[in-house]
């Protein structure tokens, strides 16, 4: 079943996310980042940060929560078992820090056929609860067509 292209531009209400130090440490460890500023508050403050910063790919955690709402949208018609991650882009206004209280709002940025496959791009805009822009993420997913070929990264 093809994706519903009428969903281009559809917006999803923001998800709340409270950034915990242990979560940032856990995520940094999971990608092998050992620089003390990502683990130790004193090292972070000595480097001029208000608290432990997130590693650059951490916003994907918020992006996934937003994405979940999009995948489960019955109007979209996505079979998640066919999905691989095609591309990822982050744009940063500032790093995420422990203690941030964030809102992540979603939008369908692209939905189109690509030969036998289909492409779905989900944009997540992250702000503080006070409306300060923090970063945005565009996750481009490829829904593989009916052939058994399994190209693509994730």
């Amino acid at each position: 079943m093809p994706l519903n292209q009428a969903l281009l531009g559809k917006e999803y209400p923001p998800v709340r996310y409270e950034v915990g130090r242990e979560k940032l440490r856990e995520f940094a460890e999971s990608v092998g980042e050992t620089n003390p500023i990502y683990h130790d508050e004193e090292a972070a403050r000595a480097a001029g940060h208000p608290d432990i910063p997130a590693v650059p790919t951490f916003p994907v955690v918020l992006s996934r929560r937003v994405g979940q709402k999009v995948y489960e949208d019955p109007e979209l018609g996505l079979d998640y078992s066919r999905v691989v991650h095609g591309e990822q882009e982050f744009t940063y206004h500032r790093p995420i820090f422990a203690g941030d209280r964030l809102l992540a709002a979603g939008r369908v940025a692209a939905v189109q056929a690509r030969g036998r496959h289909e492409l779905l791009a989900i944009e997540t805009r992250v702000t503080t609860e006070d409306g300060e822009p923090v970063c945005s993420a565009v996750m481009t997913l490829i829904a593989r067509g009916p052939s058994p070929s399994a190209r693509g990264g994730s």
């Binding site: 979560k23 997130a54 590693v55 790919t57 991650h85 940063y92 058994p148 399994a150 990264g153």
Partner: protein, 134 residues
């Protein structure tokens, strides 16, 4: 923070080399919340046409970001980061991430990067990051 004045076009970044273990993918699944079974269940992965479990693209991007973070020396310097996931990589394989300075405009530095497995297949391609250095 790394100073833009110390950087030259074409300069190579220090590579990051990471041999992927199954435990990495399980740890990343837990930390990221991405529990798609193609990353930890071989039978499931094979049932959807994959050779076995494959790494999360975002795990590979996270490893690549270590190289960028080390070069920028300050997370606030990173303004944009993007990559394409162009091939899969599996536990037991080694990801080598390389990068070079593509352009310098005042304190703005553009870096291109890529990631390859041990056979030279491009796992990460079209990697780009924009930095604003001190």
């Amino acid at each position: 923070m790394t100073a833009a004045a110390e950087i030259t076009p074409g300069q190579r970044l220090d590579q990051v080399v990471h041999t992927i273990e199954r435990a990495d993918l399980i740890r990343y699944a837990g930390a990221s919340g991405d529990f798609n079974p193609i990353h930890w269940n071989d039978e499931w992965a094979k049932s959807v046409g994959l050779p076995g479990v494959i790494a999360h693209g975002m795990f590979s991007m996270g490893v690549a970001a270590r190289m960028i973070s080390a070069f920028a020396d300050n997370p606030a310097a990173i303004k944009r980061l993007r990559v394409r996931f162009s091939a899969m990589i599996q536990p037991g394989q080694t990801l080598t991430v390389s990068g070079e300075v593509a352009d310098i405009d005042g304190n703005r530095v553009k870096v291109r990067f890529w990631g390859e497995d041990e056979a030279g297949n491009r796992v990460l391609s079209k990697g780009e990051t924009d930095l604003e250095l001190g």
